[in-house]
């Protein structure tokens, strides 16, 4: 048989269309480039290819000013600040990806069940997320950190278990809307199961929202990691983290040592900015109301 002799010259689906739109936005492409640069940096650092000397202590060279040898100077232990900052991206990105991923999985699942089934299930989920929402996340994180001790895993859990609420609300609302749509009714009419209607029919139709939420929650997660590490609730001491570097800067700044702070905030600034700009472009590209006559 000959069902697909010639695939259409121009792929026409929402995703391809969005991709085409994104590729025409220079700012979006630059932002994506920056994000990929960070990902690449983190991967190379953790693979031990570059900046391998991040933990190399040299007590003879504390607080060296930026020079050709140490582009961003050294810290109190004589460690290279640039290498520390680069390694900090591992912490930030892993917290960003794992924490956000966890939050989105929880939020999507609960939101989908609540919105799709309605009734008692909905009542229960709504009760649950409003309850979680009333606990300030710092408190939750502090208690988690006390129980588990400061570590990356604590950060993953803390962010994953608190940041799902707003996402859950959005997914629930979308499911409420979509379950009444004709295409879902049509799926019921051909005998599709609940599972099929939720995951094969509705979920792909709201996936763009999940993607947009991902980049929003990601930014908040990265910032939270910095804040928590600054408060001493994040990663264990010794692990490079931008929050730790900013924390150290409290003691360094009075001595005129500005480069530690500059490196950490600079690294954070460009990552967050790139993510925010990319998120804006992504939202526009995936907006069904954007005219694509």
């Amino acid at each position: 048989m000959s069902q697909s002799q010639k695939p259409p010259a121009r792929r026409n689906s929402l995703w391809w269309d969005a991709l085409r739109h994104l590729r025409r936005q220079p700012l979006a492409m630059v932002s994506l480039g920056v994000i990929l640069f960070y990902v690449g940096l983190a991967l190379l650092c953790s693979a031990g290819v570059i900046f391998t000397d991040y933990a190399l202590v040299d007590h003879n060279r504390p607080y060296q000013e930026p020079s050709w040898e140490n582009w961003l100077g050294t810290d109190i232990f004589g460690r290279d600040v640039l290498a520390r900052a680069a390694h900090g991206s591992i912490t930030s990105l892993s917290v960003g990806f794992v924490g956000t991923g966890l939050a989105l999985v929880i939020g999507t699942l609960l939101g989908a069940l609540a919105g799709y089934f309605g009734g008692r299930t909905d009542d229960l989920v709504v009760w649950f997320y409003t309850t979680v929402d009333t606990i300030p996340y710092i408190l939750l994180v502090v208690s988690l950190a006390f129980i588990m001790g400061p570590s990356l895993q604590t950060l993953y859990l803390a962010i994953g278990l608190t940041f799902w609420v707003s996402h859950c609300r959005i997914v629930r609302a979308e499911f409420l809307k979509h379950r009444e749509r004709d295409y879902v009714q049509g799926a019921l009419a051909v005998g599709a199961s609940h599972w099929r209607r939720i995951f094969i029919h509705i979920l792909p139709n709201i996936f763009h929202l999940i993607l947009i939420n991902f980049s929003l929650v990601f930014v908040t997660a990265v910032k939270s990691e910095v804040i928590l590490s600054f408060l001493g609730l994040g990663v264990e001491p010794g692990v490079p983290s931008w929050g730790m570097m900013i924390n150290d800067a409290r003691l360094e700044l009075p001595r005129g040592v500005w480069w530690g702070l500059a490196a950490a905030t600079g690294f954070m600034f460009f990552l967050i900015l790139a993510f925010n700009l990319f998120n804006d472009a992504l939202r526009e590209a995936l907006d069904p109301k954007r005219s694509r006559v």
């Binding site: 695939p7 049509g186 005219s291 006559v293």
Partner: protein, 568 residues
Amino acid sequence: MSSDSLIEIKNLSVEFQTDDGQVKAVKNISFSIPRGKTMGLVGESGSGKSVSSLAIMRLIPNPPGKITSGEILFDGQDLLKLSEPQMRKIRGNRISMIFQEPMTSLNPVFTIGDQICETLMLHRGMDKKAALAKVVELLDQVGIPNPAQRVNSYPHEMSGGQRQRVMIAMAIACEPDLLIADEPTTALDVTIQKQILELLAKLQKEYNMSVLFITHDLGVIADIADQVVVMYRGDIVEQGRTLDIFQQPQHPYTKGLLACRPSLDKNPLRLPTVSDFMTEEGKEKNFDVESIKQVKASRPVQEEKNPVLLEVFELEKHFPTKKGIFGNVQEWLKAVDNVSFKVRKGRTLGLVGESGCGKTTLGRSLLRLIEPTAGQVLYNGTDVTSLDRKAMRQMRRKMQIIFQDPYASLNPRMTVGSAIMEPMIIHGIGESKDERMEKAGELMDKVGLSRIMLNRYPHEFSGGQRQRICIARALAVSPEFIVCDESVSALDVSIQAQILNLLLDLQEELDLTYIFISHDLAVVKFISDEVAVMYGGKILEMNDALGIYENPQHDYTKKLLSAIPKGL
């Protein structure tokens, strides 16, 4: 210019910039609107009729739209050369407009009085008190009961027909020279449509206005317009006096458009389509008009060939409308109220009624897309309402539904092929993916589409094509019984004729049984063997198709029939 024309449009072209380049929405058209007459502008979706009217108001969104050439002479003055402040003095004052959707064209947070006052104060410089007095007078004129009290109503407190009356009151507030009515009755029920058309005709005479009446419905045009302009793909194909166009259409497109519309006084075996009269390029085809004059004989029931397939017994569906503080229901809406009927195999039952009469709820309750509150649906003797989930899934192989809006009823994220194969996967039809693909291809052939299209997404298809895809999907499980829920209402007339013919062919070929739900009596008459008229959740009257139109028993049926525009 001749003094009997209020507006003269000369060589108007409008283009839109899209992702795919320039699209010419209106191509070099010229026509004029005489003073004190009603001009009908007819065309199907995408013909450029609304764009032309927006061009007169200078309301084309720019970008992406642009008027690339032409003149619009209004009383000798070229509207396209006016400055924006000058144009604002004309808009709403000398030229005003009413839209299709009275729900969205009124601002929900202001009372209707305030909204009409605004126009009067703006253009006529009236003070609030004088304006309000005028508003009461206007509301009275457009037939709103108790106008002195209703000025303080909010839009949501009024029905669709009343809202359209308010829109009309707003449009005529400044006694415009030209009223542009863009599909003003399309969203309304036929009985309401009739009232609004009568109102517009009355006001047109009283104010001696010119009216530009835009519609896709030829029946409406014949009732209201003195002259007609027919548009097709951005071009004017024909213009002239209404009577001439209807009796002696010259252009093949007009001929096709007139012929493909089901009507109450004709009873053809098949509907002709525009493509019978015209080639893709717009050339005339030799079409034997006699071949469509073949009259459909009413099909008598044969007991052995048409056994009772579906028997509905005292079916009810109630929705709670008011709940107490403890969640106990205090008021119910009886959407389907004690309905009983039978459908025989291989035949079609038409279900007509106006919006809110419960016809859709009834159709969906039969398939348990909505769980009925009480009653029985016996399918071949099995009570569908009491089946468990597994048995119900098996039952869904036999009973299918085709929805109204082909844009909403296909999952936009699924290729057409996956959509058609999905029911086969669910019911274990076909051994392998290739086998199912082959069957999907056959179904595409059957509904008149190419199987090469299987790996495309729904938005790449036109409305008519999508409805064909929905039909193919419904047929994928080889059902015996199909509920068509307003399945052709969202389509243009020429496409509607094709889909109706397709449904008839499929019934013949596959011995299908249909319940055909529609608000359009002519369509129902064309396709049905029996017709049931619904009102307020009840079936008022049921008879064979010819009988109900020739000899209606119930007052409501008579009212419904008399409200249909005759179309000459």
